[in-house]
Amino acid sequence: MRSFTTLTGIVAPLDSLNVDTDQIIPKQFLKRIERTGYEDFLFYDWRYLEDGTANPDFEMNAPRYRGASILLTRDNFGCGSSREHAPWALDNYGFRCILATSFADIFYNNCFNNGILPILLPPETIERLFREVRAKEGYALTVDLPAQSITCPDTARIPFDIHPFKKECLVNGWDQIGLTLRHEDKIAEYERKRGIA
């Protein structure tokens, strides 16, 4: 898996609550059997108009957010289905880090398995970041995972919490299957005890 240590990038705002996985990537794009090539389908129903052109009312479409790698959003991001196509689409588009007040459990896990860092921040911090992002074109942040801190252009550093094991896996880009298979003897022993032939 791709590792994550530090990232400096433009921040794009997505000002909605409960952004569900059907919004992140609608179901008609789940029929593919590949892991890549989902970038054009991200936020599809919001991003494009009926004729396929960019929707000018979708904030993230503004030229100033082009090339953004950090997504700023609100409560319960990624709720709904378990489709890993959601983090694939975010990743393929270029997002490597998501800042939100809360995440849905399955989506949160799926991010880590794809080298994407989801960061939980308090509502007042998210509110402030929304203001700052909109006030300054080219607003960028530096996210430092080993130091668990976010550097802002004008304001104080923002510390963040993260589960130590998840952090270690992401910083080192560990393959989880490889990690588990180091304990294959223990799996075999467990199966023997349970009588699983």
Binding site: C79, N113, F165
Partner: protein, 469 residues
């Protein structure tokens, strides 16, 4: 010390634990379907890994398959490729697959319990968030992403952090006309769509105990809509009676032995939970969602919200957006909402009792002229056959409904069953997200009886006042 069912199942399945790492949890049953598995099998191929326990892995195709004539090939080439890929992967890796022609085929969360694959005390995962359904039989069951599907295929385990526990106790007698669907919608309305995040929910209380197993499946199914990955109900006589004689119940043990083993998983009296919520079933009315999140729900005799009365600005914004998308006014009576489509089916409400409840309402009536399509899609081929044996298909067809083959169908509209922009659907499904049933489509989540009544009346109506024929 008194333990909850979650703690018991958790402890019995930890393979290995060491400081600084997530525990390795053993998986007893791995269910797979065509949408979230191809990239996982591809991963195995690239890493030259095998499926560790093909005999604990079962596949079905449900999301993409047509509900019309099954003897014809799938028209959509992408759907066909995904379904064919599952067939090929199962063959290559030695996994049992219930394909479209198999009588055991159906929605993964309908066939697991129906075939007796799902049993008390098991750990069950599937690349699908509605895996929570299986918790109704006292199994710890939750949805996982495709990377985790690959992890389970390769190791029969998952790296898991222990969750907090929440008891949702439902008390009192459920009034006539109020169903399990209304109970779970009311719970989501009460705790919110993120209320269960980080928790495993255990449903307790006399209302739950008095529910049939199929009703319990409906409750557990929508646990994910409250943000919790898994919802469980301790096994009891209802659970055992349901399981008796099903296809995959172990044959090498006596029935008494199995029941005694299964009984041990039930939560001990007096066990503790990290959080507790109580719902009075006697106060629950038939529910209808008005918005684009399952928590945006009201009683049939209620109204859509009045925006100025919502105190939280973000919530107000979300409600405004939702009402706009849904084409509804604020403060509008729920009874005045007029759907033009009805969909009865899904892993939430596509079982035999659901079809019976809908048929009871429909019997002797015709679909309202405003209703352009009424779709009945059984949750499995077996459900379909049992319903036909009871003559339910005739009741629906005489009323003007279409009687289809089993599958996920219009719940998520990955096959040809899709809402058109602007369509308004009374649906027995689990998600009313924007575009869920088709771009621009508007979904109102209701129970099977409420969906059927809306189809006959041409607007949402209180099924408690229904004149049954």
């Amino acid at each position: 010390m008194a333990k909850s069912i979650y703690e018991k199942i958790w402890e019995a399945h930890v393979v290995h634990e060491e400081p600084g790492q997530d525990p390795i949890l053993y998986v007893d049953l791995h269910l797979i379907h065509e949408v979230t598995s191809p990239q996982a099998f591809e991963g195995l191929r690239i890493s030259r890994r095998k499926v560790r326990r093909p005999e604990m892995t079962f596949a079905t195709m449900d999301h993409n398959i047509p509900t019309t004539d099954r003897s014809k090939p799938i028209a959509d080439p992408l759907s066909k490729r995904q379904v064919d890929t599952l067939t090929a992967n199962c063959k290559k890796f030695g996994v049992t697959c219930f394909d479209m022609q198999d009588v055991r085929n159906g929605i993964v969360h309908v066939i697991g319990p129906e075939l007796g694959l799902t049993q008390p005390g098991m750990t069950i995962v599937c690349g699908d968030s509605h895996t929570a359904t299986h918790g109704a039989l006292g199994a710890l069951a939750f949805g996982v992403g495709t990377s985790e599907v690959e992890h389970v295929l390769a190791t029969q385990t998952l790296l898991q952090k222990k969750s907090k526990t929440m008891e949702v106790r439902v008390e009192d007698v459920l009034p006539p006309g109020v169903t399990a669907k209304d109970v779970i919608l009311a719970i989501i309305g009460k705790i919110g769509t993120a209320g269960g995040t980080g928790y495993i929910i255990e449903y307790t209380g006399d209302t739950i105990r008095n529910m049939t197993l199929e009703e319990r499946l409906t409750v557990c199914n929508m646990t994910i809509e409250a943000g919790a990955r898994a919802g469980l109900i301790s096994p009891d006589a209802t659970t055992f009676a349901y399981l008796k004689g099903r296809d995959f119940i172990p044959k090498d043990k006596s029935w008494e032995t199995l029941v005694s083993e299964w009984s041990k998983w039930a939560s001990d009296p007096g066990c503790s939970y990290d959080r507790a919520v109580v719902l009075k079933a006697s106060e629950v009315e038939p529910q209808v969602t008005w918005g684009t999140s399952p928590g945006m729900v009201a009683s049939i005799n209620g109204k859509t919200p009045i925006l100025s009365q919502l105190s939280d600005p973000n919530e107000r914004l979300a409600a405004r957006k939702a009402l706009k998308y849904m084409g509804l006014d604020e403060g509008m009576p729920m009874r005045d909402i007029q759907p033009n489509k009805v969909f009865i089916g899904s892993c939430t409400n596509g079982r035999l009792e659901d079809l019976r409840a809908a048929a009871k309402v429909v019997k002797g009536y015709k679909l309202h002229p405003r209703i352009e399509q009424g779709l009945i899609v059984p949750g499995s081929t077996r459900v379909k056959r049992l319903a036909e044996a009871e003559g339910l298909d005739r009741i629906f067809k005489e009323a003007g409904f279409e009687w289809r083959e089993a599958g996920c169908s219009m719940c998520l509209a990955m096959n040809a069953d899709v809402l058109n922009p602007g369509d308004r659907c009374a649906a027995t499904t689990n998600r009313n997200f924007e575009g869920r049933q088709g771009k621009g489509g508007r979904t109102h989540l209701v129970s099977p009886a409420m969906a059927a009544a809306a189809g006959i009346a041409g607007h949402f109506t209180d099924v408690r006042d229904w004149e049954f024929k």
